[in-house]
Amino acid sequence: MNLFDLAEAPILMAPLRAALEHPMAGAFASFEGWVRDNNDGRAVDGLRYEAYAELARKEGERVLREAFEKFAIVDARCVHRIGELAVGELAVWVGVSAAHRGAAFDACRYIIDEVKSRVPIWKHERYREGDAGWLHPTPAPPEH
């Protein structure tokens, strides 16, 4: 089973979460990235995520493995949507189970931060005003 995956269809969270349950896990932290109706002050109607799939899966897997090395966690998964998404849709899901909550939170935060900054996935936003564009943040990605 992959720790990181790309999904072309809506992400089903319940089975992802269930896979992380373990009798020795007392804490579960999760993160969901939702498509917002605005970005940098512009109204957004929807977006498209594109990935360099082969490398994205490889780099995503590396991020998750690093989380296992750095934090005392029991299990973790991350899934990122690609394709067309509407406002409100789930773009990315991260879940981490651990004995204690500190490691669960820290690993969850680490995974989403690293996935956003390293995994080759690009966001193409469609604006209410009719235009559209790729987001190529400079130079350190802003905390979004």
């Binding site: 995520y49 360099y52 780099e59 990315v92 080759p120 790729w134 987001l135 190529h136």
Partner: protein, 80 residues
């Protein structure tokens, strides 16, 4: 002279109008290859804002251009 497949993503693909192409080049390394393609196609992203991959994994800009390889220039990512 190396023949490689170049993959384009996001704004690079839009600018090039292609997702991939075969390229013949005598560039000594990946950085020189990008410079060549940048001047040919007018890519606005400077090399220091890109990463580069060869055959499905990240590579160094100083790596030689392997004949028959698949090369991708990675614009700043924006997943999540």
């Amino acid at each position: 002279m190396a023949v490689v497949t170049v993959l384009y993503f996001a704004s690079l693909r839009d600018t090039r109008g292609l997702a991939s192409e075969q390229v013949e080049s005598s560039a000594p390394d990946l950085q020189a290859l990008y410079a060549e393609l940048q001047s040919r196609h007018g890519f606005s992203l400077p090399v220091n804002r890109l990463r580069v991959a060869m055959d499905g994994d990240f590579a160094g800009w100083g790596d030689g251009v392997r004949d028959g390889s698949e090369i991708a220039f990675i614009p700043p990512v924006s997943g999540g």
